[in-house]
Amino acid sequence: MPILPDAVQNLTLAFERLPGIGPKTASRLTFYLLRAPEEISRSLAEALLALKSDTGLCQVCFNITRAGQEVCDICASPQRDEGVICVVEEPLDVLALERTAGYFGRYHVLHGVLSPIEGIGPDDLKIKPLLERVKSGKVREVILATNPSMEGDATALYIQQQLANSKVRITRLARGLPVGGDLEYADQNTLLRALAGRQELGS
């Protein structure tokens, strides 16, 4: 028998469905909003509704874009080199690469990675549109920037296999020691690759 009104109960349950939020956090958030000025819950509610209705996927690179906009700002920008495509797992990876301010090509978001054990195959990702983009002929280089994990490697290998007959250059982000890391804790895989990819100093 619920002691609290449905409105309180419903919001608590809604919060609980979010990742990382348990029943305690959910009710704390609910009671905070209950006591806070109406303005806060109103703007939160509006922002939540807009999240779905005002966004869509870019029809070229599948990054998240504003609703009704066919092509995202990066794909539409003449300043970005359309001959280079950087392939990433998630839209958040695009943000990370953009923050470097050192990449001037375009992107392709796969929305996931291949995972043999979880049963995620090539058809579950945006791989086919990527292959078509490359076939269109303007692309010179495909940079595979999937995560350095077993699944990320499998995805990169699969795309490489599919593009093997095309003339484009296929590269993978370098793997090595992170800034501020400690050799003592490096695993063999990382160290071996860091050794293989060592670079001449002072050139």
């Binding site: 990382g20 054990i117 290998l157 007959n165 490096a186």
Partner: protein, 256 residues
């Protein structure tokens, strides 16, 4: 969580990892000492994690675990064998995933099985060294079934108990083995199995790995053996496996 210790030192093979919370991963491990365990690896999705590189799937690793509230937490990790070449070829990734998925699906968190751990380790090592995948995988399937108590009967008819004669027979996952032509004809769940496929399955079941590896098996017979084993395994798992489909998808689309 078995064992009442606060900390646990184990040798483990990482079966799978799933993202967990902000930057953590939930690992499914098969340990030499305690069998299957699940443990949280904190912060391993951060680039500067000291543990991440040691905790990828298929890695054999020495671990220190601490008792958390509901799950073990990984405090230290050191690679014993990285099986690196399992990761740089798509088919090998698929084969290793198959090995791991089978073990994961057939076991529970139920205590240690040293022989099973050793089988897993040696199978991954064989794949890593580039042994022919057919021999490695069929041998693994039959040994795994032995160790788990699902050994198929390949020498006597599971219907009438008569010794199997060297002619084409039937194979019934439901009854757990071969049926002679007389019994098999009446059983609708049974599939035909050729005298050759049966001969090599029996050879794999009672021979050492080295002996099994010396057998020269024609391709159609290999395919038949694989199909019969798949039937048998999926019957006992009560649900299809993910990795065989993945392997087919990857093979089919080889653009050559």
């Amino acid at each position: 969580m078995p064992s009442s210790e606060r900390t646990l030192r184990v040798e483990a093979i990482v079966l799978r990892h799933n993202d967990w919370g902000e930057a953590d991963r939930l690992l499914t491990l098969y340990t030499r000492e305690e069998g299957k365990l699940r443990a949280i690896a904190k912060g391993v999705r951060r680039l500067r994690s000291r543990k991440a590189g040691h905790l990828e799937p298929f890695t054999r690793v020495k671990l220190m675990l601490a008792r958390g509230r509901d799950l073990w937490i990984v405090t230290q990790a050191e690679t014993l064998a990285a099986y690196l070449s399992l990761r740089d070829d798509l088919e090998r990734i698929a084969h290793a995933s198959y090995v791991v998925e089978l073990l994961d699906r057939f076991t529970y968190e139920e205590g240690g099985n040293r022989a099973l751990f050793d089988l897993l380790a040696v199978t991954l090592q064989r794949l890593n060294e580039g042994h022919p995948s057919f021999t490695v995988l069929r041998y693994y399937e039959l040994r795994l079934l032995d160790l788990l108590g699902f050994r198929p009967e390949l020498f006597r008819c599971v219907g009438c108990g008569e010794e199997i004669q060297p002619v084409d027979q039937f194979f019934s996952p439901l009854l757990g083995g071969v049926l002679c032509p007389r019994c098999g004809g009446q059983d609708t769940s049974a599939r035909p199995v050729s005298v050759n496929a049966l001969r090599f399955l029996r050879h794999f079941q009672r021979s050492s790995y080295a002996e099994a590896g010396r057998a020269v098996i024609p391709l159609p017979v290999q395919q038949e053996m694989e199909t019969r084993m798949q039937d048998y395994l999926t019957y006992y798992l009560e649900r299809g496996l993910n990795t065989p489909g993945f392997l087919r998808a990857v093979r089919r689309r080889n653009p050559d």
